[in-house]
């Protein structure tokens, strides 16, 4: 029995899994949560830091998804929008593959401004874009069975869908990063910080390309 990758259930799982994937990537900030707990010498600083990181990440998701949720209501152009979005995601993946430099801007942020850091880190890495094709598929008329609804109803439906996707993604992202941060903080110690730190750059860029291609394919 094959799994229908475009079923609503499968798509929601994709939202969750992409969140876990972002969360375990040190580039999305879990080492900052470990550092906050240790530097401030209190355990509660760790979940606080995770909260700030989550807030920044959530904003970065919404910034990407919101404009598309509005555009997606123009469903005469639905296919073109989804094609464009897919190509945009592929382009970001290719850009990250070619430009392997690390964004210097992130180094200019004060270590305590975690939400801002998290927002910019997610933007710079195209984290929101990775969700975009999944989200657009969730909003597609076939999935929503909304072919006959008025544009305004559709738009508000899409908006709340975008918020739901961003929130679910961010929660699972926080879970993924939080588990690693907590295990290192409470059990393993900082020796494992460098041991669990893998270079995900290429994998990350390829993920964007794959998700983007998937989006383009589904739009056809």
């Amino acid at each position: 029995m094959g799994v229908d990758l475009t079923s609503t259930t499968a798509l929601w799982w994709a939202v969750v899994v992409s969140g876990l994937y972002h969360g375990v990537n040190p580039g999305m900030g879990w080492p900052l949560a470990v550092s906050a707990g240790l530097m401030q010498n209190r355990t509660s600083a760790l979940p606080e830091a995770l909260g700030m990181l989550a807030f920044g990440h959530l904003l970065a998701m919404l910034v990407i998804l919101m404009p598309f949720s509005i555009m997606a209501a123009l469903f005469t152009w639905e296919r073109e929008i989804r094609l464009g979005a897919g190509l945009l995601v592929v382009a970001m993946g290719c850009y990250l593959l070619i430009n392997r430099r690390h964004p210097k801007l992130l180094a200019r942020i004060h270590p305590a401004r975690l939400a801002l850091w998290s927002f910019l880190a997610a933007m710079a890495h195209g984290a929101g874009l990775m969700l975009l094709p999944i989200y657009l598929q969730l909003c597609s008329p076939q999935t929503l069975d909304s072919g006959h609804q008025a544009a305004s109803t559709l738009m508000s439906g899409n908006l709340s869908q975008a918020i739901k996707v961003a929130v679910v993604h961010t929660l699972s992202m926080t879970l993924g990063g939080g588990v690693i941060a907590a295990v290192i903080y409470f059990y393993l110690g900082l020796k494992y910080l460098s041991r669990t730190w893998f270079n995900l750059d290429i994998l990350w860029a390829l993920s964007l390309v794959i998700v983007g291609v998937f989006g383009v394919y589904l739009a056809y």
């Binding site: 040190p26 580039g27 240790l38 690390h102 200019r108 942020i109 900082l190 460098s194």
Partner: protein, 466 residues
Amino acid sequence: MNVKPDPTFHATAQLAMLAPMENYGFTVMLSPDGSASDGIAVVDLNSASDTYGQIVHQVIVPSKGDEFHHFGWNACSSSLSPMSGHAFLERRYLIVPGIRSSRIFIIDVKDPLKAKIHKTIEPEEVFKKTGYSRPHTIHCGPEGIYVSTLGGGGKDGTDGPPGIFIMDCETFEIIGQYEMDRGEQDKHYDFWWNLPQDYMVSSEWGLPPQFENGIVAEDLLSNKYGHKIHFWDLRKRKNIQTIDLGENHQMALEIRPAHDPKKSYGFCGVVVDTTNLQGSIFTWWRDDDGTWQAKKTITIDPHPADPDELPDLLKGFSAVPPLVTDIDLSLDDKYLYVACWGIGEMHQYDVSDPMNPVLAGKVEIGGIVKDTKHPNGKDFAFGPQMVEISRDGKRVYWTNSLYSSWDDQFYPDDEGGQMVMARVGDNGGLELDKDFYVDFPKGYRSHQIRLEGGDCSTDSFCYPNV
């Protein structure tokens, strides 16, 4: 680019202390009169090796008259900064500036025995892109490699203040000046920082005309060398406070912050107090209200001497000043080593209480008057100068030359380059190792030492000890 972080990057200073012992040291080879080319000597530090304590490779540059002095790594434990999320640089290149020529060499030491020049940055590029000259101290930081300079623009380096510039840590392209608001800072020497707490501290030696052709006695006696330390908001690139140590505290040089980033204190060595010829160490720290403070916590007295035994420069004083010209702090923040280049002593202070250092050990070697021999019976030219501590804190290495033209003034009859090593006792104490004595090739003096895999004056740690 690695898949895993470089194994020589450590989250904490504690973890760095547990890392394997150093196998190689890299030491400056300086041709004091510029008749030969400067270079970097690769010294075998593996006691099990047949060539232990010998120079096993030399990287000699093609140009002459560069005057190598300080140098540093392209990447260190600061790569594990949680802010970067990007720990995959390699500790592979040494950034070696010439402080006389302003030329910068990038030396690839991936295989120490085959170390070679990877890239050369010509002086014109440094001048054009930074407005600074005479590059000196290297640290790897948040936005790349930070390089302090001793001179501003123009031929004698006095056109504008000296400062820090930033280089890309992968391409080694010079990016430009660091400072956005330097406040009253108008001289420069050393700098270091605390990355999580986001502050930097910098110090002052003097402007190029005050050192390039030798120490200017009139300037020293009229207190015209640097005597201030500056505190910076690291990421805002802004001088937030300047502390004047007092104008008699001439030449505030090495800045050594505690390695544990949870601590907000450090040390600064002052070469000479012009009122009494003492050398001194200041402890600087941040108050609860965020204000920086500094207090003199160590003084080292001059030694009375017969003027006949003194160089012209010192005859009038009938005493040898200690000349505190380098300090280094062990990774556990416990011992501060203080090189007294004039009197020929290396001091070890227990600084567990940074406000009340206690002398824990001492070694006598070289010196203007004492000229103490090495325990192996051989001569040690000049006095103890650039000092570097092994990561585990058990071995302390040092060399003997301060700066070409100054060596000649304070030690007019001495010549040579040596690197020696002392072992640290379990409860402190310091004893020279009879079997470790590197004599540099004729015509070369030696200066800063870097240890393979990092040492006590390169790596910046981003996580506190636990």
